[in-house]
Amino acid sequence: MVESTLIRLDNVEFCWHANAKPSIRSGKLCIDRHEHVFIQGTSGSGKSTLLNIIGGIVTPQKGQVNVVGKDFTQLKEIERDRVRADHIGFIFQQFNLIPYLSILENVTLPCRFSGVRAKNATERSGSVNNEAVYLLNRLYSKSKFGFDRKTSELSVGQQQRVAAARALIGQPQLIIADEPTSSLDYDSRQAFMDLLFDEVNTSGSTLLFVSHDPTQQHRFDRVVEMSTINTRGSADL
């Protein structure tokens, strides 16, 4: 039996430092499987904190967090790391890649930490590397260069595609994209979003897209204002 809700937050309260004001104080947030959700918020609205909570990097001091059917407040840190490795793919705004690894090694990185994703990738393409090449080829339809190159030679747009391939490899249930297009120009942005949606639709992953840029909202099933999640108010950092 598969639950239809993938992420559920209930009255979560979290502060980074013991005596600081909470960075986030949420009401209720539910995201269903296969849903594509756009969370809109300006910087300082608690976006990063929210993603750290959903990613299981931190646990809130109060409230309930349920991700892929796991109650994060009940899990040990190492178990939350496991859930993140197996079920969540992240794409950040920039500097997504490990500089000392090649393009291919960056893409296959999640499979080094997750047997589940390594297995999924192997099932689909025969091997983790094949799957990485497949994803990269889809994202770089016109590219002619080898994937064993250093990532430092890539443009920002190319780097974001590599990051997307890494997030997608092994078909995690949840893709979290944190301002992935904000360092791209308009054309690259459109191309990147097209590719991302193609892949997410193919793999059937849930997409949680966080951005301050409303121009992409129309592509999503649902738009959530950060201010409705975080009732703490966005005035103070």
Partner: protein
Amino acid sequence: MNLRLLAWKSLISRRSTAILTVASIAVSVVLLLGVEKIRVNAQSSFANTISGTDLIVGARSGSIQLLLYSVFRIGSATNNISWDSYQTIAQKKGIKWTIPISLGDSHRGFRVMGTSKDYFPFYQYGQKRNLQLTSGKPFDNLFDAVIGSEVAKSLRYSVGDEVIISHGTVSTSFSEHKNKPFIISGILEHTGTPVDRTVHVSLAGIEAMHVNWQGLVKKRTVGKTLSEANLQPESITAFLIGLDSKIMSFKLQRYINEYAGEPLLAIFPGIALHEMWRLMSVAEQALLIISIFVVIASLTGMLAVSLAGLNERRREVAILRSVGASHWHIMGLLITETLLLTVAGILLGAAILYSGIGLSQSIIEANYGLFITIGLPSQKEFAMVSILLLTGFLVGLIPAYRAYLNSLADGMSTRL
């Protein structure tokens, strides 16, 4: 998760600092193991200087002094033993052999030692090894001399060459026994002991050389001819004793030390060697301490490099966390990096040391008389390397913990 691969790639990407760190650890390993190697080899070569001898007898002085002049040919005796006392003791029951030693002259910087023919069959060094001649034969005639291998090598002597012996032990002596040259009758095999640096002649030869001398001065008046002279020495410098059975040694030592005729001293060479080594071990300790400090310096360098790089790597840590790395992975990565550096440093250091020994073995032996064996690392060397490795691991914990704290504060998003 293969952390080693990640750690390796990360080090390769910072290869210039990594190579310098490895080099500094390698230097400290060379020093640490090199000092240990020299110590062990020096000690064994030292302990191998003399063997098979049960007692060394000389005029009463200190045991180390007696050992120094009788075995190492360093310094000189304060007094001699009369021939009569030597004969009396040598006749005692239970004594298998004695080797008389008469010192005081030299040849171009090498000590001349008067002794008896018993020296060749009975003197032993190393693991009870006897002296062997590489060419010629032991001295037979009055003016025959048998030289050590190093004397032969450095003065390019061969059997049949003439040797003029100087009075006293300075190489540029002005009083030479020119009228009585010695002929080299034999050359001894290399032993790695002071024997190599000695010119051996018979006791009678020493006496003959000194006929018509009085003390340090040549007599002006025309004296006796050799045939008239009595070539039996009046005294000798020291003598070595070999016993039938070791049980006797304490009794005989007491007898000699209480000998009524003149004040004498009998020592066990093994104990005296040990005492002397203890004196020298201060220098050895100092060297060891210096090398330990060099090790600390190199590990501190590694720590500094690792900590300095940590801030630049916050983003990297955040990425690894986002793809599922736990805190343990992050710490493991940093510890693996320092361990890789330490292991590489140890291997490089050992390689440098062993090839260095291999290349310089013969040079060291020729110049310092010390033969350094390559051999497998000893238990102590293994222990030293293990401690170094463990320390490398502990040092790695520091940046690992710092990275953990950083990552706690950063989460997945470093503020750039």
